[in-house]
């Protein structure tokens, strides 16, 4: 079982790190997203982060399902598998479990991961494979040209809901936390520095990493997140989670999040008897996920929208436990003896 302290989590099979640049991770395929799509920014950040940890290209596999975001693997000069709708976590599970040395990434969208692939997503998360799942959430079906998705807000008018959406949306982070994800984070396509940091943290985490990225679909759902992600409002309408730091936000850094005695989170102004010590101090290492869950439920306009790492805890990974079982079986029973097993059980000889 490999240790949890190794900064370079998987992907090198014990080989020394190599010096690569962003360009080494750019494939020769022409990128075919709509001009202005948020996917470009995410691709660029991932390509930038890859060389940072010295992972060898040949040890990286990007797996995707179906949807706009799922074209992602074609643009990475690594191994890639563009699978079928919703099934990327299952394909990735087979890849990681059969070869734990690989650095495995799942690129998915809100429809792919939460609708058709919901079952695979929660099971891949609960098994805690050391894979990185990046969910591009644009709250719309783009590739099929504009139907509502499981994260579309109530009342939204789309091609398939001319009178408005009447099913309640899922919160991707709530789903991940409920499935006991060991790493849960959120970022925004246009917040490039932050996104880079989050992708890097996800990569460094040993165990499943679930990252939701708010991604703008400028064709079918343009500006879906603008009301809180736009440059001029984001400081007042979003809050950046930092481990061990009180939850403070606002251009003036004068507002914070406090827990009321009825376990409800409230936004408070600092001053007038309210000090930093009254605010919640973020703890991404909390063994339970209650705080992370409450933070994940904070939505604009009642609250600032949190980004950052909600949860980052350690537990054994599926592939390590599987490898351990194989190794222990070899220790206890000896390496497999084919002749032995086909001759086992009650046998008799006919002369």
């Amino acid at each position: 079982m490999s240790t949890n302290t190794d900064a370079n989590q998987g992907g090198n099979g014990g080989q020394p790190p190599v010096k690569l640049t962003r360009k080494d991770f750019v494939s020769d395929q022409e990128v075919r997203w709509c001009p202005g799509c948020g996917d470009y920014a995410i691709l660029a950040q991932v390509q930038k982060v890859m060389p940072e940890l010295g992972i060898r290209r040949e040890n990286v596999v990007f797996v995707s399902g179906i949807g706009c975001s799922s074209r992602f693997p074609y643009y990475m000069n690594t191994y890639g598998f563009h699978s079928i709708h919703g099934r990327a976590p299952a394909v990735a599970t087979g890849i990681k479990a059969s070869n734990p040395e690989l650095s495995v990434w799942v690129i998915t969208g809100d429809g792919d991961a939460l609708s058709i692939g919901g079952n695979h997503l929660i099971h891949a998360i609960r098994r805690n494979l050391d894979i990185n799942i990046i969910l591009f959430n644009n709250r719309i079906y783009g590739l099929t040209k504009g139907q509502y998705s499981p994260t579309s807000e109530m009342g939204k008018r789309t091609k398939s809901t001319p009178f408005g959406v009447i099913d309640y949306p899922l919160n991707p982070l709530s789903v991940a936390l409920a499935a006991e994800a060991t790493f849960v984070a959120r970022s925004v396509d246009t917040h490039t520095q932050h996104l880079q940091m989050i992708v890097q943290r996800a990569m460094e985490h040993k165990g499943v990493s679930f990252v939701e990225v708010y991604q703008n679909c400028n064709i079918f759902n343009d500006g879906a997140f603008d009301m809180f992600t736009a440059r001029d409002v984001k400081e007042d309408r979003m809050i950046e989670l930092e481990h061990g730091r009180p939850l403070i936000f606002g251009k003036e850094r004068n507002r914070g999040i406090r827990m009321r005695s009825d376990m409800h989170l409230e936004v408070v102004e600092l001053g007038n008897g309210v000090s930093e010590s009254d605010l919640i101090a973020h703890n991404e290492k909390a063994p339970d996920s209650y705080l992370a869950y409450m933070l994940a439920r904070m939505e604009y306009p009642e609250y600032p929208v949190p980004v950052g790492v909600f949860r980052d805890v350690q537990k054994s990974t599926y592939e390590d436990l599987l490898t351990e079982q194989v190794e222990r079986a070899i220790q206890n029973m000896g390496p497999g003896d084919l002749e032995g097993i086909i001759n086992s059980g009650d046998t008799w000889v006919i002369e």
Binding site: Q29, G80, G94, A97, I350
Partner: protein, 621 residues
Amino acid sequence: MESMTILNNVEDKHIEELESVTIRFAGDSGDGMQLTGTQFTKTSAIVGNDISTLPDFPAEIRAPAGSLPGVSGFQLNFSNHDIRTPGDEPNVLVAMNPAALKVNLADLEPGGILLVNTDAFSDNNLKKAGYGSNPLEDGSLTGYRLFKLPITTLNRAALRDEVELPPKEIDRCKNFWALGLMYWLYDRPLEPTMNWVNEKFKKKPDVVKANVTALKAGFAYAEAAEIFTTHYRVRKAAIAPGKYRNITGNEATALGFVAASVLAGRPLFYASYPITPASDILHELSMRKNFGVKTFQAEDEIAAVCAAIGASFTGNLGLTGTSGPGLALKSEALGLAVMTELPVVVVNVQRGGPSTGLPTKTEQADLLQAMFGRNGECPVAIVAPATPGDCFHMAIEAFRIATRYMLPVIYLSDGYLGNGAEPWRVPAMDELPRFEANLYKDPDNFQAYARDPQTLARPWAVPGTPGLEHRIGGLEKQDITGNVSYDPENHMHMVETRAAKVARIADDIPELEPFGEREGRLLVVGWGSTHGSITSAVEEMQGRGRSVSSVHLRHLNPFPRNLGELLGRFDRVLVPELNMGQLWLLMRAKYLVPAISFPKVKGKPFKISELTAKMEEVYED
């Protein structure tokens, strides 16, 4: 029952020689009938009979005690000559309760031995079985040799002073009491079963003692009581020399895949979702971790096939197993495996359909699903084992084809093969095929969809190999480069290429060797688990001087090269199948032969007599 009577003075009882006997043990699902049947089978194999078995158990784990749906049965045929089926009609029926009698009596041969546990024939149980009057008393069983025994009472009496066990535990031994009695009746030794009990319950000496005492008591009762005037002997069969073990199709399938992994030198990754009757393969393989076998119980059928595909992508032998409804769920992913040209094997232990159908009953009705059940032009290779022991060899064959041609292979077993057992001659290691399943390593001019000129296989290039980074997926690929392509000419070319890969397998598999003459009046064509019944029926027809031959297909896509030519050498072609004529349809489409279908979908295998009757009809027609 074929017999000749020999007077034997030992203990003043006749011992009668029989050629072969078919027994069916039937009782409530809690009565241990499967275990009783299995023990009788093992003992018969050890004394040198040829054997064939058919377990028949309910889908319900514990249907209400005494009810008709709760009846569990186990039929076995043991013989002094080569047999291939569990027998058409039981010569002997052991019925542990009224429901078991009701469900099974119609199958018992006229005049057959009927042994019942009278203790279970209470008013309540009779009512549950739907009897208006007690058949043991109303004269309705006069056509049989009825033996009425209070088995529960006799078993209790035998164990009462011997073991300190609660009454319920004591009653659970009554199946061994019945087994002991049957051992006396058919002149079998007790030792193999006693050894098994000792081993199985070595940590529970009370249970060992109880079962052994019950077994011996049943045997002693039969010997001493005045009810049986005769007992029977079935001598050893002339079986090819060698080392044998009893094996079910599912066990042989699992072992075959382990063997494939060893022979190919590639690790096995088995992903599966529990489903009757395929789950035993998961159980078996999960014990083989010391072979480096990784088993993954997936969240659903789709995840299982997708994980197997992922494992094949990394250079493992990616394997998934299921039954018919699960194959339906795996369809889309199988298309992905066809498109990405990865060596995945899908085991389908077929059961009665459609939908949930008859989960514990056998059927062969997924051939067309295996052949065509996907969107687009999406051919896969299909193999089908013919006997439980053949499951071992065809499992190896499935991966030989998958890795050599880089494509998915569907392996069609069925419930009858999976749960049925036969003595299997254990192959020597040097009899097993070796096959190369090498990974591609050379980064110079690497192309993900370059073609082997002979097999058209693309390179098996796996993550972790420097210089071979590439992307695959479900979108149409440009040949050679593997890039996404929407080019019309390329699409047609790739559809043809994928079909040609499957077609070329025909050059690499054995031609059919007919059982019987190579030309004549009637050719019987079968596939899968019908091998035993068809071969026995054809043998019987040949014995009647009829010009009948048979061929049995173990490769269904592609067909063996000489199938078409053989079909043309016979006046009539008959295709018996446990479906409504699926192979028949494929053969008629491909060879334009006026073949005749003989379908059966009753959840049960063919009887030899059904087949010979049909063959006579077609023969004369």
